[in-house]
């Protein structure tokens, strides 16, 4: 359809987006390039978008450091455990709301939603974790964040979309609620299950606030992002003093870049294939608000 739109306007919009793409991509390309460049060019800060003096020394250093490899492996395991647990809890929490006759349905709903708007805060949570003995305990990275109310609502609104008649006919055939969930609801909601598990997985892979708060002295359970944060904080301190002399510490910098790249790559690998699920999730959440 032709809506009186000028060719020139289209051209301007395309140019704007090309600029935005550059703004989004160039910083990341710069980091990738620096992680693979030789110290010679890094010191003179002559690396912009593509590696110069290509080498992978920095990656070798990171790979041979057991601290990084263990942290990566641990974060991967952690992400897997958290995703499975969270997904299970989310389904269990969302499904009973499908039954309109459930006593206490409204009360439970308010009970849940209330926590979305009012949180206890950092210190009370910290004190709770302390009295539960979860400080410096790997479980603190799994249990407290294992249920996101937003995701429950997402799951629930998808379940609401499945016609009640399907459920009722399965019940006439003698299936109880649990069987109905496993045999009918779950197979029908594969897309939303994918979306929600991705939300949980990315959240766990990228999150480090809980680790920063609750892993006080034990360094063994640091997820990769907390490690990055520590590297980052130490090195910014160094950077700051070096700004005066403007002589960068090239090998250290390449290594720092390499740690960033290694922590980013898993996300970059899965992202293009799963993007549509993320978008679907956000759209579903916004429409059914």
């Amino acid at each position: 359809m032709n809506l009186n739109k000028s060719k020139f306007g289209d051209f301007v919009i395309v140019v704007v987006f090309i600029l935005l793409i550059c703004i989004c991509l160039f910083p990341m390309m710069n980091v990738f390039a620096r992680s693979m460049s030789s110290p010679h060019y890094l010191i003179r800060s002559e690396v912009s978008l593509f590696p110069r003096g290509f080498n992978l020394d920095a990656f070798e250093v990171v790979w041979s450091d057991s601290k990084y490899t263990w942290s990566l492996a641990w974060t991967a395991i952690l992400t897997l455990i958290c995703t499975i647990l969270s997904l299970t809890l989310t389904v269990l929490c969302a499904f009973p709301f499908v039954y309109k006759g459930l006593l206490g349905r409204k009360t439970l709903n308010v009970f849940m939603i209330f926590t979305m708007y009012f949180g206890a805060g950092m210190i009370p949570t910290f004190l709770l974790m302390r009295s539960l003995g979860l400080i410096d305990n790997p479980l603190v990275l799994i249990l407290p964040a294992s249920l996101s109310i937003f995701n429950v609502i997402l799951m629930r609104s998808f379940f609401y979309g499945i016609p009640d008649s399907i459920r009722e006919s399965s019940e006439i055939d003698g299936a109880g609620p649990f069987k109905t969930l496993i045999l009918i609801y779950l197979p029908l909601s594969k897309p939303v299950l994918a979306t929600i598990s991705l939300f949980y997985a990315v959240g766990r892979w990228n999150g480090y606030a809980d680790a920063l708060l609750f892993l006080r002295t034990e360094r063994r359970w640091d997820p990769i992002q907390l490690l990055l944060y520590r590297v980052q904080q130490n090195l910014t301190a160094i950077d700051v003093t070096q700004f005066e002399t403007s002589a960068g510490n090239a090998p250290t910098e390449a290594i720092r870049m390499a740690t960033i790249v290694i922590a980013t790559v898993p996300i970059l690998l899965v992202y293009p294939f799963l993007q549509k699920y993320f978008v679907a999730g956000v759209t579903l959440g916004s429409i059914k608000e």
């Binding site: 809506l3 009186n4 739109k5 000028s6 289209d10 704007v16 987006f17 793409i21 989004c24 160039f26 910083p27 710069n30 800060s45 269990l92 929490c93 499904f95 009973p96 039954y99 006759g101 459930l102 006593l103 439970l108 009970f111 849940m112 926590t115 708007y117 949180g119 206890a120 805060g121 210190i123 009370p124 910290f126 004190l127 709770l128 009295s131 539960l132 003995g133 249990l143 407290p144 294992s146 249920l147 609620p177 990315v202 990228n206 606030a209 990055l228 980052q232 090195l235 910014t236 950077d239 700051v240 960068g248 720092r256 960033i260 922590a263 993007q275 956000v282 759209t283 916004s286 429409i287």
Partner: protein
């Protein structure tokens, strides 16, 4: 037998035999209430016996915590001493004795009403019993509130008393009129409650559990003690917070960063979504979206790493411009870098909701306007923007609710010693004082202030939106 029984009820009579016969004299909810009350009484008694023995059962660790009996004895002594009486009631012993007598009478009334069920004369006794229990509970709670001395909550635990209200509520809201109906319901729905156990346990423990510890804000800073055992401090730490220049600075920083974020960042996704909608090259549009969404998936630690590299003194941006602007080391520059990096990370992702809203606009509106000769800008201004207005309002309400809380991960990753003066927001203050430092009460007070202001802002914005005729959040 009473005559208000349903046929369903009768048919089940044989199965439950004698018990059924007894229970059936009263309406169902009365029975449930009686059983509930008895359970609660047993629970409360146990709690008080616990405390008498100097032992407390910790509901969270499921362990008995040994309070040193000397401490308890001292506290008990204090409550009954002159000093305790002065702060509480003049005749504390007498007061306690009266309460105890009322309590005993209530139990006797309840017991009588159950045993002597057949006689109509006694039936109303149960109501008297409930009334007495409400009276005792209310007086107890008031007594505790008045006795805000050291031993207030330690000696007289409030929580078992609060549970007394549960059976009374059941009395009014129990929805079944017969045991048979109840059994029918349970048969149909019990699985669902089993399914809910784990998620609800998670919510209760990890979302409601911390709320008890909010009391830490009103208690002395005995940071190794369990919160309930700490002596009361009143509003001391709220006063202390507002006399603390570091907190006031953190408060100011929070407001500055949040307001800049909203003013500079809020319109960006709206504009981008409208522009994306105008893109007619299908493939280019898809690639653009993929790339614009990407930064959302990088963690704040990574984004901060990229930022220090790209915005550093010899970084990509300064090299390109041929300058050496101190983006991250000068406080004023840092504030804008902080906001712009946030926009960089979130702009693409933020468009999704708006794009979904734009898709929902009726295309006939555009066609009709185009026939009338409207050009691109007029179409956007008169159709697209009004079409997504509810979504804009909704997201604006949410971001106003978020003014008091900056993302902890984001600020922790992006701050550095040269800009602490402008980067340390309320959350950083709370973290430094309460988790890394030892001023737990102060930090808890600040945290509570923050939560309450957030909730007020959220509902205030919502109220305002509704007043001006928008749909609002709730």
């Amino acid at each position: 037998m009473s005559d208000n029984q349903s046929p369903l009820h009768q048919s089940n009579k044989n199965r439950f035999g004698k018990i059924e016969e007894i229970l059936s004299t009263f309406p169902m909810r009365v029975n449930v209430t009686i059983v509930g009350t008895i359970l609660v009484l047993i629970f409360s008694l146990l709690e008080w016996v616990n405390m008498g023995l100097g032992v407390r059962f910790n509901l969270f660790t499921l362990q008995f915590a040994n309070i040193e009996s000397k401490v308890v004895a001292a506290q008990l002594e204090w409550v009954f001493s002159e000093a305790g009486s002065i702060q509480g009631f003049r005749n504390f012993k007498l007061f306690m004795a009266i309460l105890l007598i009322i309590f005993v009478i209530a139990i006797i009334l309840l017991a009588l009403s159950v045993i002597k069920y057949q006689s109509k004369r006694f039936r109303s006794l149960s109501y008297w019993g409930f009334g007495a229990i409400i009276l005792v509970a209310v007086t107890f709670i008031f007594a505790i509130l008045i006795t805000v001395g050291d031993a207030g909550t330690t000696v007289l635990s409030v929580f078992p008393l609060l549970t007394l209200f549960a059976p009374i509520l059941t009395m009014f809201f129990f929805p079944f009129d017969s045991l048979a109906r109840l059994m029918n319901y349970v048969k149909r729905y019990w699985v669902l409650y089993i399914l809910l156990i784990l998620p609800m346990a998670q919510i209760i423990i990890f979302r409601y559990g911390p709320m008890i510890n909010i009391l830490a804000a009103f208690k002395e800073n005995f940071f190794l003690w369990p919160v309930l055992d700490r002596p009361w401090a009143g509003l001391e730490f709220f006063v202390a917070a507002f006399n603390d220049p570091t907190f006031l600075e953190a408060f100011r920083n929070t407001l500055v960063l949040s307001f800049l974020e909203i003013i500079m960042g809020f319109p960006v996704p709206i504009i981008l979504a409208i522009l994306l909608n105008e893109l007619r090259l299908r493939k280019f549009k898809r690639v653009t979206q993929t790339i614009l969404y990407l930064p959302h998936f990088l963690s704040w630690a990574i984004v901060a790493g990229i930022a220090t590299t790209v915005l550093g003194n010899v970084g990509l941006v300064n090299n390109f411009l041929g300058t050496s602007i101190p983006f991250l080391t000068d406080p004023t520059h840092w504030i804008f870098s902080y906001v712009i990096i946030g926009i960089w990370k979130g702009m693409g992702w933020g468009t999704i909701i708006y794009l979904a809203a734009i898709t929902g606009i009726n295309p006939e509106l555009y066609e009709a306007a185009a026939v009338d000769g409207a050009k691109r800008f007029r179409l956007i201004w008169h159709i697209t923007l009004p079409g997504i207005r509810p979504v804009i309002v909704l997201l604006l309400i949410l971001s106003i609710g978020g003014i008091m809380g900056n993302s902890f991960e984001r600020i922790m990753a992006m701050r550095n010693p040269l800009v602490f003066r402008v980067s340390d927001v309320i959350e950083v203050f709370t973290y430094n004082r309460g988790v890394a430092g030892l001023q737990q009460s102060l930090a808890a007070a600040v945290g509570l202030f923050q939560s309450i202001v957030s909730v007020i802002l959220l509902f205030g914005a919502n109220y305002f939106a509704k007043k001006t005729g928008e749909r609002g959040l709730l």
